[in-house]
Structures are given as structure tokens and as C-alpha cells.
Symmetry: C2
Subunit: 319 residues, 2 copies
């Protein structure tokens, strides 16, 4: 199959060809460039929403509730599941998978699990491109699910138009969030499982952490700056989902309607380009593994005959 | 301070200079090369042990128990805490930090928290180098604590001589481990909190997952290959810690005493070198952010006038 046929299949939203196109960017294959070139101008209307949070906070349940909401309004939704423990990527308990079953059977919903396949920077480079493919296919919403621990995972979450950070009461997420850089990327914070004890404590801790983070930033806020709301949900019964949808709409309006919002969009585009440049360099660098000197140099480092930096320089200079 | 003085301070194990030296590699500064060159031949006797697992499985408690054990034997220990939620990196509940307090006061123990500082590949490049610095300083054991979710985190864990993968009953870690590539890097598996319900279920799931992984590998095992043991511990009361120490010794003997072990060491050295080469390329690539065309190209991608791959090629060709 040539790239024109593949691109046409994407634009016609043929699931089999969508899957193949996403594999092309996921594997970082040669054809990715021609494919993305063919699709570049399509799908500017798609909204990309990142949902991130530790395993167990209810990302998939929230994703599922958002799908229900958008589908009821006649909108189409694609899910990119970057969290290996998500039921959307087949990694969860049977009960969860069964609950998600209806989505798998709905032609207005496309679900794809993304894997890092061991490539450094793989997920952060390929996920935004996979989102572009789904945008070109005309899905109204793309939901990217990531586990919010680990630097690539934070980068992937930050590559969305709007990033929703989920927490749950009693998981000690608050402290971890501050450390993991999750606070900086959150446009909307959701305390899910709000019917459990401690939900209001989690909100309070989060509010405190956010105000500390704002103090640290130490520059005056622009008048049109976005203030991340903190919402309470019980996603398993769709509680609070209409409010979440409303906050998502407000953020979308802010992105296009304000100077700060447009700057945010520009920064997001820069991060996307940076990830691809890095993946590009990485692919080039793959060559050094085949360099006959690679093993010897690694051995010299291991024996203490040489430091890793000078060995790296030798390899880079030979590229 | 010049590099000779810094290197001499490391070799003399002066905490202030150790901290400074680690910051040099952590920040990827220019001087890192000269520093690591000065230290290359030192510290070949150090054992580097990685401890990885989800938050809550008891990594820090296990680390603390190992420190107690080695200190009682008159050995010195350094900890590199890459998990932001670890008490060793100051991210945990007060109670945990108080329990760790004695280690912070012991001159035979050095504790350092590593941050990714937002650099792609940062943690995986800098942590093995930080371990080399601590090795040069003459610590007998270096314990690297990482949260086993996320690709960089898995890479860091895999950079140790011996990687210990920790789990706890009832956390659903089993399934996640299979997906996250943690099974492949584990030399020793520990089911901690073994006094809780479900410990034996976790062992059974893990054994099943390991046998599946071995089947997938689909090549005959070498006769001298390492079979990862599965141990049960209750780290909070040091239960099972002597058995863990024994397994660590056996793995160390295997690494040096068998052909498969020496091959494993070589692969580890190659991975370390690869991480540094990538960080090197990354630093070079930093230049493209300053390229006057960077913002324009990002904007063109964002508007659908151009795909990210061709924009990346333009930038790379201008480096």
C-alpha cells in the first residue's frame, strides 16, 4: 500500500488504515514523513484532551463518562491510551474491560493503545502525531490517557490542547504531583471518587499546592491568564461530568479567544516540534549502535579505562 | 573551584563536593566530561543495585532495611533517589522521613535525590554517572530507587548491576509490570508486605507472568543463565532482608563468574554509553530552540501548513 492510499484511508476514517497509519508514526518509520505531509492540513477542528493521573484515580472511568457524554451529543471520540494499566489498552481487570465493551463496539469511537516500544522519547514524539492522524480522520474529540508519573508521560499529557489532571482522595497524590511537574501542566484539576472520605482534604491540599506554585512563578499574572479550576467528580455515576465538560469548553474558548491562550497554543506547537526533532536525532543516533567501535568503547567505560562522555564524543564525531 | 579539586573532593568523599559533582552531571554541564575523565578509573568495586516499583510497595522501607544490614556489617551505602515520592528525596509523609532520619545523620550513608529537571533522557543519562561518582568516592553499595512506571524510570532501574523489582499484594502491579517492561529488567523480584492477604496470589501471578515472558523469548536458555528468584519480605520489620542480601550476593557472583553474567555486564555498559550519547545529541539539539526559524516552523505545523517531520528536518539540517 502506498502513502496516498493510506492517507485516503485515514481521511475516510477506515479503522484498519487508521491503525496502520498510527503504527507508522509509533514505529518512527521512514514513511511517517510523507504520511504526515499528506495529512498536515486536515483536522484543525479536533480538540485534543489529555487525562493524566496515577493508576487507580479513575482515568478510564472518566474517559468512559466523557465518551458517553460526547456520543449522546452526536460527537465522535478517539482514545489514545498511553497508560499500560488502562482498560482501554487491555491492561485492566476484566470487570473494567466489560464496562468499556460498548465503546469498543461503537463505530463513533476509536480506541488505540500506544506503546513506547522502548524508544527514548518515543511516546512523546509519536502520540501528538497519532492525535494528528485521528484529527485528520475527523474525530471531534481525542482523549489521551497517560499515567502521570515519569517524564515522557508528563510530556505526553502536556501535548494536549487541554490537560486534565485527576486525583483521588487518600492516595497521597498531592505531594507527588508537586514533585512530578504535574501541577504545571494541569489546565483543569479533577478530584474523582469525590464520594469518598477525604475528598475535601485533597481539594484543600491541591489548592494549597497550586497557590505555592503560583508564588514560586513570581511574576504578575496576565489579566487574561487561565486559572485552573478544581472540580469534584464521581465518574462511575457520571457525577460532575457536565461540569467537567463545561470547564473543557471554557478552556477551549480561552485558548482561541485570548492572547495568553494563543501563546499557550504556540508553546504546545513548539513542544510537539521539539519532540519530533529529538526523535529524528535519535533515529540518526541509532546508527552508532552499529558502529564497530560501540562495543569496545562501552567495554572501556565499563573497565574504567575511559569515561562515558569522551566515548560518546568519539561516537558522535563518527556519525 | 577547578575540576582537579572537585575530583579530589569526590575521592576523599567530602559530602559537599560529592553533592557538587553530582549536580555537574545532573545538569549536563560542560565540566562533566573532565570530571568523569578524572574519576574514570576509580570505584570499580562498587555494587550498584536498582530498586524499582510503584509508589506504595515499600521501596524506601526496603532501602532503609538494606542500609541497616550493610551498615551493621561495616559497609558504606549511598542512595540515589529518583522517585519524587520517596522519603529519601523529601517527598513523603513526615512519619516516613522521621524513620529515615538516622540514615541522614550517619556519615557512612550518603543520600541524594535526583531530578529529571525536564531534560528528555536526563535521568537515564545522569543517574549512572552519579553512581560512578559515588563509586569513585568508595561507597561499597549504591542503591538507586526509581518508580517503575515510565520509560526513563525503567531505563534507570536497568542501569544497575542488579535490579530488584518490588511489588506488594493487592496493588494490581502484576499486570502492569508485564506491560511496562519491568519484568525484563528484574534480576530479583520481591513481594514486600508479605504479611498481608494476597501475597501468595501476587507470587503466583508473577511466576505465571515470568514463565509467559520466558516463553515469548522463544530461545533456549543458556545453561549458565540467571533465573530471577521471587522473594517474600516484610521490610518494615526486616523480615526476609537476609534472604534478599543473599540473592544479591548470588547475582553478583553470577555477573562476574559466568559467561552470561559477563554478557549482561557488557549490555549494561552499552546502555550507559547509549544514554550519554543521546544526552550529548540532545545538548547539541538544544541549539535548535534558539534557531530564529524554530517558532515560525512550530507555528506552521500548528496551522496545518506543514507537517512536524519536514519542519524537524529543516531544523536538523541547520544545526
Amino acid at each position: 500500500m502506498n502513502i496516498e492510499e493510506l492517507a485516503a484511508g485515514v481521511l475516510a476514517r477506515q479503522p484498519r488504515l487508521l491503525a496502520r497509519a498510527i503504527s507508522v508514526v509509533e514505529d518512527g518509520r521512514e514513511e511517517a514523513r510523507a504520511l504526515m505531509q499528506a495529512l498536515a492540513s486536515a483536522g484543525q477542528q479536533t480538540r485534543v484532551i489529555g487525562l493524566t493521573g496515577s493508576p487507580g484515580v479513575g482515568k478510564s472511568t472518566t474517559t468512559s463518562a466523557l465518551i458517553d457524554h460526547y456520543r449522546a451529543a452526536g460527537l465522535t471520540v478517539a482514545v489514545l491510551a498511553c497508560d499500560p494499566s488502562s482498560p482501554f489498552s487491555g491492561g485492566a481487570l476484566l470487570g473494567d474491560r466489560v464496562r468499556m465493551q460498548e465503546h469498543f463496539l461503537d463505530p463513533g469511537v476509536y480506541i488505540r493503545s500506544m506503546s513506547s516500544r522502548g524508544h527514548l522519547g518515543g511516546l512523546s514524539a509519536s502520540t501528538p502525531q497519532a492525535a494528528r492522524i485521528l484529527g485528520a480522520a475527523g474525530f471531534d474529540f481525542i482523549l489521551i490517557e497517560t499515567v502521570g508519573v515519569g517524564q515522557s508521560e508528563v510530556e505526553v499529557a502536556a501535548s494536549a490542547d487541554t490537560t486534565v489532571v485527576l486525583m483521588a482522595p487518600g492516595m497521597g497524590d498531592g505531594i507527588q504531583a508537586v514533585k512530578a511537574g504535574i501541577l504545571e501542566v494541569g489546565d483543569i484539576f479533577v478530584v474523582n471518587k469525590a464520594d469518598r472520605d477525604g475528598a475535601h482534604d485533597t481539594v484543600r491540599e491541591l489548592r494549597h499546592a497550586l497557590s505555592l506554585a503560583a508564588d514560586v512563578r513570581a511574576r504578575p499574572a496576565e489579566p487574561d491568564e487561565w486559572t485552573p479550576p478544581i472540580l469534584l467528580t464521581v465518574a462511575s455515576t457520571a457525577g460532575g461530568i457536565p461540569e467537567l465538560v463545561k470547564a473543557l469548553e471554557e478552556h477551549a474558548a480561552w485558548l482561541t479567544g485570548t492572547e495568553s491562550g494563543r501563546m499557550r497554543k504556540a508553546r504546545r506547537a513548539e513542544a510537539e516540534l521539539e519532540a519530533v526533532v529529538l526523535a529524528h536525532l535519535r533515529a540518526r543516533a541509532g546508527a552508532f549502535r552499529d558502529d564497530p567501535r560501540f562495543r569496545d568503547l562501552a567495554n572501556e567505560v565499563s573497565l574504567g579505562l575511559r569515561d562515558a562522555y569522551s566515548a560518546a564524543e568519539v561516537l558522535v564525531s563518527r556519525l
